[in-house]
């Protein structure tokens, strides 16, 4: 029985994975090939099916010569780093807070999940409403503490930070949820052992909680970073890339190139580059996650 068990389990993992692989392949193969094809041609959106001259790597070269490309890259990096790091810190803090047993913890948790439930479009419109110079509630609140009215989305310097704040508001609950669920699945044994040993709160946190949570935290960071990189809906609604080019992040830039300039080939080349860039940047993070899986066993 042992032998057949091992023999069966050799293919077993592949069997489990196969439906997923099949599904994903079917859906993503065509877009990938189509995308690669478009990226090496000069394609105008309204002449989609006719007129697709092959231009080799010209799209990619133009991209690297375009200062707007680097502007978008720069803005996006700022966006991703700011949102993910702050969401992680606040989310972790909240998760630890909610992990304690207190009355109404369940209700509070559900309540705190609400921002994440809102459609990005609604969040964008809602914050636009609150940031409004004339009747936005924030102006009123600023007034209460004696600060004069401020221009948020209309200011070149404050537009991106305003969007960052709205994003943090919306997605911190995501971090909180993932980490909280992780905290709840942690085995009690190491904690009880530490308590018997008389270890203090912060030490327990640093030496036991964090290492155990590491894969969960890293996964949450990875997922959030990927999504933050692709942020589109909120920016489309709140500023459409303005004022000037202050919030023309990557997704917005690609969108404009595709649907305003109609340069679909160029836009696809950029999208592919973005895909490549993200996967390269994410690789060390993913490696980290993999290795922390391997060292699990406590």
């Amino acid at each position: 029985m042992r032998v057949s068990h091992r023999k069966r389990s050799k293919y077993f993992p592949y069997l489990l994975l196969s439906p997923t692989i099949l599904a994903l392949l079917l859906i993503t193969i065509f877009p990938l090939i189509y995308g690669l094809n478009l990226s090496v041609r000069h394609v105008i959106l309204y002449q989609l099916e006719e007129g697709q001259p092959f231009i080799g790597l010209d799209n990619f070269i133009s991209m690297l010569n375009d200062p707007m490309f680097f502007n978008a890259l720069n803005l996006t990096s700022v966006l991703v780093v700011a949102t993910v790091s702050l969401e992680l810190l606040i989310g972790l803090a909240l998760a630890l807070l909610l992990n304690k047993e207190f009355r109404g913890a369940g209700v509070v948790t559900t309540a705190l999940l609400m921002p994440m439930m809102m459609a990005p479009i609604v969040v964008g419109l809602m914050w636009k409403f609150m940031y409004n110079y004339d009747f936005g509630i924030f102006q009123y609140l600023l007034d209460l503490i004696g600060i004069p009215k401020m221009l948020f989305l209309g200011s070149g310097s404050l537009a991106l930070p305003s969007i960052i704040v709205a994003d943090i508001w919306q997605w911190t609950p995501f971090m909180m949820l993932v980490i909280l669920a992780g905290l709840r699945s942690l085995p009690r044994a190491p904690f009880e052992a530490a308590m018997i040993d008389g270890a203090s709160g912060p030490r327990v946190f640093a030496d036991i909680t964090l290492p155990l949570l590491k894969p969960i935290i890293l996964i949450a960071v990875l997922l959030r970073a990927i999504d933050s990189f692709k942020m589109f809906d909120q920016i489309f609604i709140m500023t459409r890339g303005g004022p000037g080019i202050a919030t023309e992040v990557f997704s917005m830039h690609i969108y404009l190139r595709a649907f305003a300039y109609y340069y679909v080939g160029y836009a696809t080349a950029m999208a592919l580059t973005m895909l490549y860039a993200v996967s390269v940047i994410a690789a060390p993070l993913i490696k980290n996650i993999e290795s922390s899986f391997e060292s699990k066993g406590t």
Partner: protein, 278 residues
């Protein structure tokens, strides 16, 4: 108990309450503001200074109802629920496989799975539109379910994988020595123990699908229209109908909130068995 310890405990409790209150205010205020604005008239909504006390009116909701709320609501529900179920079902199998077994290509497969999420939606929109057109699936729920599952599946796999890996192997080993099959071990041991993780993943997938805009715009028309499109329709050229927007925003959040509230118990149950806790 020593008086110092008592004060210490009270202080801790006070600090806890303070933090929770601050968090609640920060995260709930915009939602409160949205809901209250939805009950105001157009004038009150944009008045400065803002109106705190007023007599509520449901006109905004009536207007939306007149615009046709039922169908998008129904579509959104079906699409989100279906893609979530698919993602979790397929995803748990795959996540288990990746979490438990070290087989050739496992690392690469995991990497490839998450990389499908890395491309911006724009890159996918045109080809998927063409695919669905060729299959005759434009403006159907099916096309949306397929499109949504493609981004929910990698998400579910990676989240579930993290939780599955937390479970020590010997639990399943023990069960299998008792005569349980691998799959049995997955269903009877791993999933129940990871309930909070599974529910978390499900909630996240549902929410993503519920709120998705880009594919909805391109792949649907009249039949399969979803709620986010209804919301986007609020930005008419003349002016942003803040009243209708907030009302729609409120309505969109309600089902998601209900589902979360219902699943709350599972979310926080954690490990109720005591077994792994030693």
């Amino acid at each position: 108990m020593a008086p110092n310890a008592k004060i210490g405990r009270a202080f801790k409790k006070g600090a806890l309450t303070l933090c929770v209150t601050v968090a609640l205010v920060v995260f709930l205020f915009p939602i409160f503001w949205m809901v209250s604005t939805s009950l105001k008239t157009a004038d009150q909504a944009i008045s400065n200074p803002p109106v705190w006390i007023f007599s509520p009116t449901f006109k905004n909701y009536e207007d939306i109802w007149a615009k046709g709320l039922l169908l998008p609501l129904y579509n959104s529900l079906v699409i989100a629920a279906s893609s979530t179920i698919l993602a979790i079902a397929l995803g748990s199998l795959s996540a288990y496989s990746l979490a438990r077994f070290k087989f050739y290509g496992s690392k690469f497969t995991a990497y490839w799975i998450i990389s499908t999420r890395m491309a911006p939606a724009i890159a996918f929109v045109l080809p998927i539109y063409l695919m669905m057109r060729n299959l005759g699936l434009l403006d159907t729920q099916v096309s949306m379910i397929i499109a949504h599952t493609t981004f929910n599946l990698p998400l579910a796999i990676w989240i579930l994988r993290g939780y599955f890996a937390e479970i020590p192997v010997d639990m399943e080993e023990a069960a299998m020595m008792d005569g349980c099959s691998r799959m049995g071990a997955l269903f009877r041991i791993v999933l129940p123990v990871c309930v909070s993780g599974v529910v978390a993943a499900a909630v996240i997938c549902f929410v993503f699908s519920w709120n998705e805009f880009m594919y909805a715009l391109v792949l649907t028309g009249v039949d399969a229209k979803t709620l986010p499109l209804l919301v986007a329709g609020v930005q008419t050229q003349r002016r942003i109908m803040w009243g209708e927007m907030t009302a729609m925003g409120t309505l969109v959040i309600v089902p998601a909130f209900i589902i979360t509230a219902l699943l709350r118990k599972h979310l926080l149950r954690g490990l109720a068995f005591g077994a792994v806790k030693g």
